[in-house]
């Protein structure tokens, strides 16, 4: 058979890391690899009640086709909540419900990117976004980052040389680094963006999971020109199983996303939307978020304390103030993929950092997740990992 695929299929390869990480599904493996929330915090009983209510009150509508834009009352609640929590000024009409915020990323590629177009992103950036954009054949230009976020002077320099279609950023508790942008960096960023009029995709899955300090203003709240496309999701503040995310953008841009949504999957599950809407009506999601933050904060504290103790001195890592991840940098000559192979033999796992750089390199980095492992497993896992790192980095004299 000589089936001919689209050219894009050549650039999308099944990830070797995914193959390695398949072993992490074994129960004896302590995995810091996934970006999974803690399932013991999911509001299972509440959702049983909610599911029953939604079907009793509006079963026929909930099981029928629905509008592409999403369930009206849920869009209204999301707009109100964003305005309250993130200091934005959006209406229900500015919101499109998506099947997880991953779908918002895919649509972004589809709306903006032709083959050869330039897309900017932080260096490193979320690998799911990189893969979503890759399907549309763009060139990636990586903007350097530091502990304060995306480096404004570097962005300026890049924008003097190239004309990107859009820029993708995660200002709060970034995936993979766990870092947040300072207020100053946010302000500088919006000034530059407004000057060059570049659409910004602000991906904000973790922003409400701040363990200390205030939530900083979202880029969307500073958006005076309708340039910021905000991606939100329930996956980390509630649970991922319903696959409910949203896009908030200016009317002109949102219309394009709605058109794409129509041909991509007609609409997101009407029953899932109504169930989440009912949950928001009956329960206080902020109480749920407070519980999540409490648990994750403890896990972060424990993981970082253990890393301090167990990791060799020439291993650097970030101190996230929220979110799900810390980011580790090994000495430049060490390949984290090789470390992972040793780790998997010892039933502990992480994600090597190379895949978070769309243009490659930086193989001496990796990402650790602390949200999905119980405390005793975190201690045990970091001890195993520390032992391996010490062996790799400080070999015993022969």
């Amino acid at each position: 058979m000589a089936v001919r695929y689209a050219n894009r299929m050549n650039s999308l390869k099944a990830s070797e890391i995914r193959e390695i990480l398949k072993v992490t599904e074994k129960p004896e493996v302590i995995s810091f690899a996934g970006g999974l929330p803690a399932p013991e915090l999911f509001p299972v009983e509440e959702m049983r009640e909610v599911a029953s209510l939604v079907l009793a009150e509006s079963g026929r509508q909930a099981l029928q086709y629905a509008t592409t834009e999403g369930f009206g009352p849920l869009r209204q609640k999301l707009a109100d909540r964003m305005n309250r929590k993130l200091q934005t000024n959006v209406t229900a009409d500015d919101i499109l419900i998506t099947s997880g915020s991953q779908q918002g990323l895919d649509f972004t590629g589809k709306v903006f990117l032709d083959e050869g177009d330039i897309v900017l992103c932080e260096s490193p950036s979320y690998l799911g976004a990189i893969n979503a954009f890759k399907a549309y054949g763009p060139k990636f230009v990586e903007v350097p980052t530091d502990d304060e976020g995306l480096i404004s002077s570097e962005l300026k320099e890049i924008l003097e040389k190239v004309q990107p279609k859009c820029i993708y950023v995660i200002p709060d508790f970034q995936n993979p680094t766990g870092r947040s942008w300072t207020l100053k960096r946010r302000q500088e960023f919006m000034e530059i963006i407004n000057h060059y009029e570049i659409p910004v995709i602000e991906d904000n899955p973790y922003g409400e999971l701040n363990f200390e300090g205030e939530i900083l203003p979202s880029l969307k709240s500073m958006d005076t020109k309708g340039l910021v496309i905000f991606l939100g999701t329930f996956s980390k503040i509630f649970c991922p199983g319903y696959r409910i995310g949203w896009v908030a953008a200016s009317q002109e841009i949102l219309e394009k996303y709605i058109m794409i949504k129509q041909s991509a999957d007609l609409h997101t599950s009407s029953i899932s939307q109504r169930e989440i809407d009912k949950y928001l009506e009956l329960y206080d999601i902020d109480e749920n978020i407070a519980k999540i933050k409490e648990v994750y904060r403890k896990r972060r504290d424990l993981m970082l304390a253990e890393m301090e103790k167990e990791f060799p001195d020439n291993v650097k890592f970030t101190y996230p103030k929220g979110g799900l991840f810390t980011w580790v940098e090994l000495p430049a000559h060490v390949d984290a993929r090789e470390v992972l192979l040793k780790c998997v033999e010892n039933n502990v796992a992480f994600v090597p950092g190379g895949s978070f750089y769309p243009n490659g390199g930086n193989e001496n980095t990796f990402r650790l997740n602390y949200s999905n492992m119980q405390e005793d497993k975190i201690v045990e896992g970091i001890q195993r990992l520390g032992k391996i790192l010490r062996e790799v980095l400080q070999p015993l004299p022969q």
Copy 2:
């Protein structure tokens, strides 16, 4: 602001018809426009029980991230059911769960089509498929059809001239025409396809809704070379609200779809998948399908009898043996869009046929749906429509 979109956004225009049809949401309008199933047949009470059980038995897993391929037990049940009902020979590994079969259509475009590639489809064809493919910039070549299905000699002639990347067909109770392919046409089609080795997308949302006679063998059941990509869905045999569809294809092809799914939305709602799986375990979906067929058959009979009585003689229409639609052909000079405007004034609606032809033309056609209206409304609606058609086609002498 000078935001620059991808070129594909130029070819995707918000449909004027969609705008006109927005008025059909008013309760006084009798709409034969949508392709909606009858909500009074949805198993609402059963799903209340199922939802509660799934959350009680496996709440944490149901609300967590899940694998891209889909929920294992559901994939197994789908493979078994396809083999039993459609005479195929597939395994759970050949199945990918999608967010409705619309997503399978979008992925088909993404997997196969580069700009300028040729895709073949029936003339006319499902407008949702046409729009999904359009986003990838192909050229459409329409293969003529008649009451027996896609015309084999026409397909042969086309394949001597062009090299399509794939061919999209709906052999059972087609949307929009309601026609089914004869067994002979299916056999001839597969011979031609096997000779030229063209991937076939067999879209089969209505195949099980046969009102009389046996279900004919699916193309997938005749597929000896792994060329047929089968798209299935629960939308018409159960309910659309969960957005659960599936792709069944050979391993080589399915791998491509899985890669695309990963970056498009990670996976389909895990809780929706588990709920449908549980329903299939506890209930006999075939009993539900039998009920649906009984109701739709009556509605079809009534609509067609009314059309015979009310429509002028120079209006032709199909006699579907199953599915949701009948297809109407007006004299060549009459524009169905103009008829629709008059209809909307009189609170009755349909979808003009032009949009079902990717290369345009055939504005003298329209599609009628009979599944979504109660019997008294069908009579009343066809009477209104008949009156307008008589006015348009047989104007009174001045």
